[in-house]
């Protein structure tokens, strides 16, 4: 059977999108959620690159440009998300510490 790679890679991209979505919904840790989003992003990009490949005769550069732009946008979003996640983590760790300290003072 002669299947074009488009099918295999396109389906993989879409499936990665769904896997990432599942991770985003079900994982409790913030860092893991951000990883899941990045997997979704990769899935969408794989899908776009597959569209650019078409039937392998003429390669369409427009989806490639879209992916290049998207990569930079997504790294920016990831950086913001990670900085924010660190911040949330620190804040809540710190408030735990404060609580513990006041509790020990009460005693």
């Amino acid at each position: 059977m002669s299947v074009s790679p488009t099918f295999v890679y396109g389906l993989t991209g879409l499936f990665l999108f769904v896997v990432g979505l599942g991770g985003l919904i079900s994982c409790p840790q913030l860092l893991r959620k951000i990883l899941a989003v990045n997997i979704m992003v990769s899935g969408v990009f794989l899908f776009l690159v597959t569209i650019g490949y078409g039937h392998g005769v003429i390669i369409d550069p427009v989806p490639h440009a879209m992916v290049l732009t998207g990569i930079v946008v997504s790294v920016s979003g990831t950086a913001v998300a990670l900085a924010l996640a660190c911040r949330v983590h620190e804040t809540f760790n710190m408030s735990d510490l404060l609580k513990r300290r006041t509790r020990s003072n009460d005693r």
Binding site: F17, L21, L24, L30, K33, I34, V37, M40, V41, V44, F47, L48, I51, V62, P63, M66, T69, G70, V73, S76, G77, V80, A81, L84, A85, R87, V88, T91, F92, S95
Partner: protein, 491 residues
């Protein structure tokens, strides 16, 4: 050379180029970001006004960026709805900018937290101007991938503004907001991919001209709709909105509730109308059902809130519903329905921003915003209390206000199309709105002598800018023909 920069069609680029410039300037002049910020806000408002005037004079504007025709290049399109949204952003944005100038000055005057407030102001201006430029770019864009980038810009800068307050609650809310909006953007981008695969073009007009039903197109439509609904916080997707909007700084709350939500809704409206032949009544009914649920649920939640800013935030959840119950009414022609819903959008934007600004002033003065303990605000802040009440009036849809005109148009359309359940919904929704607005206003206006002064000296421009916005929301009831004429320029 100056003449070339002010050519007719060039006015389409200034509403987003000027704020982008301004963002860089206020980022660099970090000692006094307020000055470039306010100047650029004024210039952007002026250029938006000129754009609207040019639209009325010369009709719909088109602009090929880079000089390349659409399927290959990106083009801008300034038709009635787009320019009206740009104008709405300009009016609301100018008032918010003036408010923000006074707001940060008042807060910096509280010496204890001076340094943090200086840093907040320093990053407020670049983020806000960038958001303004991105919103204008979004309204004017005619290219679906370009819409994705402007959506990302809007989402990221909104998140940045949300977490600016530094409160733990706002950080958690901002984190959730960020994840939800990235998810929405990704869904949108995947939809864009499907559309490109099916039509080989990224230009929205080209795609809509070649529209025909096929599974990929249906999937694209579903993905784009879900992505945009997530971002515009329609009922089941509203969970992230109230904490994010209520815990932000006062001008930021006004920006998020008044403007940002409208950005993704505007795109949804454009896509949905363009794809209407494929969607049919079923999809419209689903949207109306979700909108109706939002109206009822949001109003009940707003009524049961203890904090003023949470009340106003849940009121946004409810009012978003009105933006979506319009879809069943588009059957008899998109024109009148579009007029009604855009009129609702602009008057809601002014009224809601005014209310959030007023609530922020009250918070700053009292040091809290517990509704139960707000008696006496009338004596301390008469203008602000009046502005809050006027904004509420427009939100309820009482006669001499923009909200009234919009609801009147909704009702007359619903009656003429025999959709009585929609009439019932709008009436019930207005009643519920009146209930929660009265609950807040009755506490604010209740007479009680207060002892001593409030916490800080509130700058006069904070009070007056909120009042000006509330007055615009009322004034929209008197000048309805003007915005409607602007809206009518399509083609």
């Amino acid at each position: 050379m100056m003449g070339l920069l002010l050519k007719n069609d060039c006015w389409l680029i200034w509403p987003f180029v000027l704020p982008l410039f301004g963002a860089l300037l206020s980022f660099l002049f970090k000692q006094r970001p307020r000055l470039p910020g306010l100047i650029v806000a004024l210039l952007t408002t002026l250029s938006s006004g000129v754009l609207a005037w040019k639209l009325v004079r010369h009709g719909v504007g088109r602009y090929d960026l880079g000089g390349w025709q659409p399927p290959l290049g990106i083009s801008l399109r300034g038709d009635g709805p787009a320019v009206l949204m740009v104008l709405m952003t300009a009016v609301t944005g100018l008032a918010i900018s003036i408010y923000a100038g006074g707001y940060f000055r008042s807060r910096i005057a509280k010496v204890e937290d001076e340094r943090r407030h200086i840093i907040q102001e320093r990053f407020f201006w670049p983020l806000w101007l960038l958001l303004w430029g991105a919103l204008n770019g979004l309204f004017l864009s005619a290219d679906i991938f370009n819409m994705y980038i402007t959506l990302e810009l809007v989402a990221l800068s909104s998140v940045g503004l949300t977490v600016l307050s530094g409160k733990p609650a706002s950080q958690v809310a901002g984190m959730r907001y960020l994840l939800v909006s990235i998810l929405g953007s990704l869904s949108f981008l995947l939809g864009v991919g499907f559309l490109y695969k099916a039509f080989g073009s990224l230009d929205l007009a080209t795609i809509q001209a070649a529209l025909s039903f096929s599974p990929p197109v249906a999937m694209a439509m579903a993905l784009i709709s879900v992505g945009l609904l997530l971002k515009s916080a329609l009922f089941p997707f509203h969970f992230w909105l109230p904490p994010a909007h209520a815990n932000a700084l006062a001008p930021v709350s006004a920006i998020l509730s008044g403007l940002v939500v409208k950005g993704s809704w505007y795109l949804f409206f454009r896509f949905w109308l363009g794809f209407l032949p494929l969607i049919g009544d079923g999809g419209n009914a689903v949207m109306a059902a979700l909108g109706g649920a939002a109206i009822i649920w949001g109003a009940f939640q707003a009524f049961s809130q203890q904090r003023l800013k949470m009340l106003v935030a849940y009121s946004t959840v409810a009012q978003i519903g009105y933006l979506f119950i319009i879809f069943p009414l588009t059957g008899a022609g998109a024109g009148p329905a579009a007029s009604a819903v855009f009129y609702f959008a602009i008057s809601h934007s002014c009224a809601k921003a005014a209310m959030f600004l007023a609530a922020g002033t009250i918070f700053l003065q009292m040091g809290h915003d517990r509704i139960r303990d707000l008696a006496g605000v009338r004596q301390l802040l008469p203008i602000t209390s009046f502005a809050f009440a006027l904004g509420g009036l427009s939100l309820m849809g009482l006669p001499p206000s923009g909200g009234f005109i919009a609801k009147y148009m909704y009702l007359s359309m619903a009656v003429s199309q025999d959709r009585w359940w929609l009439v019932l919904l709008i009436v019930i929704g207005s009643g519920l709105t009146a209930a929660y607005i009265f609950r807040a206003v009755s506490h604010i206006l209740s007479p009680k002598m207060v002892h001593g002064q409030g916490q800080v000296v509130v700058a006069p421009c904070m009070e007056w800018s909120a009042l000006a916005l509330a007055l615009v929301a009322i004034l929209l009831g008197f000048i309805a023909p003007l915005p409607l004429a602007l809206l009518g320029v399509t083609g």
